[in-house]
Amino acid sequence: YNHFPRHLKWENNNVTFRIVNYTPDLKKADVDKAIRRALNVWADVTPLTFKKLYEGNADIMISFGSKEHGDYNPFDGPGGLLAHAYPPGQGIGGDTHFDEDEQWTKDSSAYNLFIVAAHELGHALGMSHSTDPGALMYPIYTYTTGYPLAEDDIEGIQALYGPNPNPKKVKPRPDAPKKCDPELTFDAVTELRGETIIFKDRYYWRIHPQMVEPELTLIKSTWPSIPNKVDAAYENPEKDLVIIFSGIRMWALNGYNLVDGYPKYIHKLGLPKSVRKIDAAVHIKDTGKTLLFTDEDYWSYDETTETMDSGYPRSIEDDFPGIEDEVDAAAYHYGYLYFFHEHLQYEYSYNSKKVFRIQRANSILNC
């Protein structure tokens, strides 16, 4: 998180606000509700209270305007700049402006007023932008559902005002994973047209051969309809598809695009109903088989006949000596299987059936 210079904040915890005008995109009551909910997001985790004024000058003056709207800080028509706000202070300090040229909504069909208002009111209270892509104070708009604050946001606002003396029960979003944390574990690993995608919590890293630095992105900002938690993923290069598993459902990607007709149930692959989650999946290009790991067992799916091979499940420990425990994620490169479990990755030779090397899981991230 970041604050404004000199950690600008309101000296009085009882802050006033006024909604000066309204957007025609929403009913007046919906705008009122969105602004009140956005203020409550911050009130729940600080001693701050917000009193609504209907006339005169309030600490936070909220308005909708387009292009040049009176503060020599013009908006830019649809898209681009959505809103802005000023840090705490006299006069324009705390004032919050929304670009009327945007379409404001209560859902995800356009720009969600509640989400943008919660972000801007963070500025009006003294928060600057965060570099954590999962934080509410990250500068780029992302539609999210559920509790909007990340731990990073709460830490930042409480560094200014302290905690709420009567804390509400909130469930902050975990912060972005640190790629070189020695204890880092992965949820899933897959290839995608020459790139490597690594899923962790609500995020995924994208490793491109020509990029030195892996890129961390929110899953939902690329695939809004895929859950925040991916269990397993694999690429079938022959079909140019990446299959992503979460719980008992699976999605298919063609490139970065979701394939129509998904999600489907994993049991369509021939898994018994008793299987409720796939831990790891990997496609063995040389055999055309996809291995699906669940708990201590694994299954073999024939991509050509699109049927599960008979004689499965088999024990991971029996067939992959050296891999004693469950598998978090798996990948296959040039005859080597890479099993990821907790903070380690095991390089397993598929031909000579033995573990050749054990490294930290995040060595794949150049750590």
Partner: protein, 82 residues
């Protein structure tokens, strides 16, 4: 002497203008005329600052990923506190 320099394509000019406008608004790139050398140094330094903020690969160049982030809908408050 033969010169391999060639004029920027209009697409490159658009990208340059987009980047300058973005960096002026959010990263304090100085506006107004400067010497060509200082302005390209400034521009590259500000591109690096923006790439670092968004955890992109810090190259100082206007690569596709950097431009893609510059085109995302976002908040109008600058990213650097000053």
């Amino acid at each position: 002497a033969q010169s391999s320099a060639k004029p920027l394509s209009s697409e490159d000019i658009d990208k340059q203008l987009l980047a300058e406008k973005y960096l002026r608004r959010f990263y304090g790139l100085p506006s107004g005329l400067q010497g060509s050398r200082t302005s390209s140094n400034f521009l590259q330094a500000k591109i690096k600052e923006m790439q670092k903020f968004f955890k992109l690969e810090v190259t100082g160049n206007l690569d596709d990923n950097t431009l893609a982030v510059m085109k995302e809908p976002r908040c109008g408050v600058p990213d650097i506190g000053e």
